[in-house]
Subunit: 133 residues, 6 copies
């Protein structure tokens, strides 16, 4: 797998190492997962993606950190991104998602998929009650 | 729009009216949205879909009702179901989703979509650290 | 809707009219649906698409004509193609799909979507028993 | 692969073993595929998914068992579910899908995908002739 | 359509008007399309989305502006985003996409979709020759 | 992986070998990738797919060969086709895609995905300015 060569620490340019360092500091650990090592083939792509993601996921907001990861899993599942499902399930567990929450998340994702396909399969017209204007 | 004729109350069989009645009681209101009126062309499909959904969405679990609707929006967006985005956004608002939470939900969905496509576009190999076994 | 101007009979070039004529003869009717009128902005695109589709859908094969249209609905639903769901539901009905078959098709599509999302959401490893080699 | 630990027979609770037993009886064989072993991390999720699927796929209806599996393959392909394509191709073959039917199924799925993308790419407006109301 | 109220100039806050002004200056015209007016319900979402997109689409890079819009159409088509197909087709035309290029783009998108579904439907194993490492 | 047995040269019928020969001549090399070896289980499917693809991808048109492959990558990424992303990234590189172009392609695909999900998540109404008629 992978259409690009992953960038190990010993092959990283200064620009890449600077982002790797910020990832390690932000997360409080030495592990750099393959997603970042793949993006690192292009330092600008690595840098813009990391700082964009960090500005959203590492900042306090209206939705707590665990729930954000669960929403991330939902989108990644529907988009069939194997890598993302794996990495964000690990992240959600690290942020406190219990086994029961994980199972219930799967139940809701699967229910949503089933009614999404029913509504699209029957092409149900949108009720005027649902429109914002 | 719609590939089937929506079933109005006056055209509904006893079997359909019985489900409509349960929808109204469960939700505490008279409104029956088009999704159910489309499924009603086949009473068995209406009935099994409604009671399956009710058993998941109307029961207390590990995830609160508002968050469930937000997860539903996430899946429906990724699956490009216009009807479902409309109906579950209305439901999430009815269950207390604030404008800030809505905007943050959109931010996370959109971020997830962007990294989903990066991971799939580069075919990043899954880190062994993410595997459950 | 539409990012191109639909080509009416009176605006059609000879090349386009020749394809329109073959559509009418093959289907035994005067109606040309918008899909072909949109493709007609580029006669080569219209021609190659029509003859490719005709060679598959109008020829007898291992799967009967009605079932082919039902498979078409399944794919179109999962790909969220509103136009295609509408046109192939009409085609399936014209080829004999009953209301019960339509409802059962929706049930299977919706079940498949739900287990697709469960398998992707849990990233279930493929059993060696399922591999052809 | 897998974000959860698969549940082997020797690690299964009574509740899980009872579902495994019903799967074996219904299918007439000892094999339990990984999908169920993954769901088994949550006995309620396993149980509700199995009995829901069984009530649809094991009961006689308007569409024969082989065709149902072929529709399942179509949806799973469009939803990019590798696991599901593998498991339902095996199931379809077990229910009598011939090599010719398999190849023709692929042809129709691939044709549908191509016209789905054309209709979505040109945003073709839906013909009034296709509407149910 | 729309799950939020679009923000007209007369209802816009100073923060929103400042982004609207930058959109107008960057594009050299008065027109603000609905996408931005919908995001404007949350000024931070509007601002971060606009400046992120501007930093990518308005800067010279390795791929010319017209081709970028054509790639945008390809992704939007596969993701079934009606709004995006409409807006980026208009943008591509404004940047010089000819009718022939538009038709050829549709041909390639449609071919890709068809072979995507064949490869996923048969679960073709990746050739080692294609791997970067 | 694979739901069908790949057809090696020594197992190929005359009909299959004739297509393999044309693939080798067209591409100027001995390598036949797994996609064709999987389709070869059904000679008619192999033949129609190859000659259809060849008629589009090997002929000069309005879009150059490298850009066509990049568009192919974009669609394959959004459709989550691992095989196709791998094979067309290899093809794009063989036709001159630079590392910078590859990174920029990923940036645009990822941006498109993010705004696709925003437009679908908010169900933004299409501006009349974007309609062709």
């Amino acid at each position: 797998m992978s259409t690009v060569k992953l960038v190990a620490d010993e092959d990283a340019s200064n620009e890449v190492m600077s982002v790797y360092k910020d990832i390690r500091q932000t997360r409080g650990g030495d592990f750099i997962n393959n997603f970042w090592r793949a993006l690192a083939v292009n330092p600008a792509l690595l840098s813009s993606t990391w700082y964009h993601l960090k500005s959203i996921m590492s900042v306090e907001g209206a939705i707590d950190a665990k729930t954000r990861e669960m929403i991330y899993i939902a989108v990644s599942t529907a988009n069939a991104c194997s890598y993302c499902v794996h990495s964000h399930t690990a992240a959600a567990k690290a942020k406190g998602m219990s086994d029961d929450e994980h199972a219930e998340l799967m139940t809701i994702i699967s229910l949503a998929a089933s009614t999404n396909h029913l509504a699209n399969g029957l092409q149900v017209p949108i009720d005027p009650e649902f429109l914002a204007e």
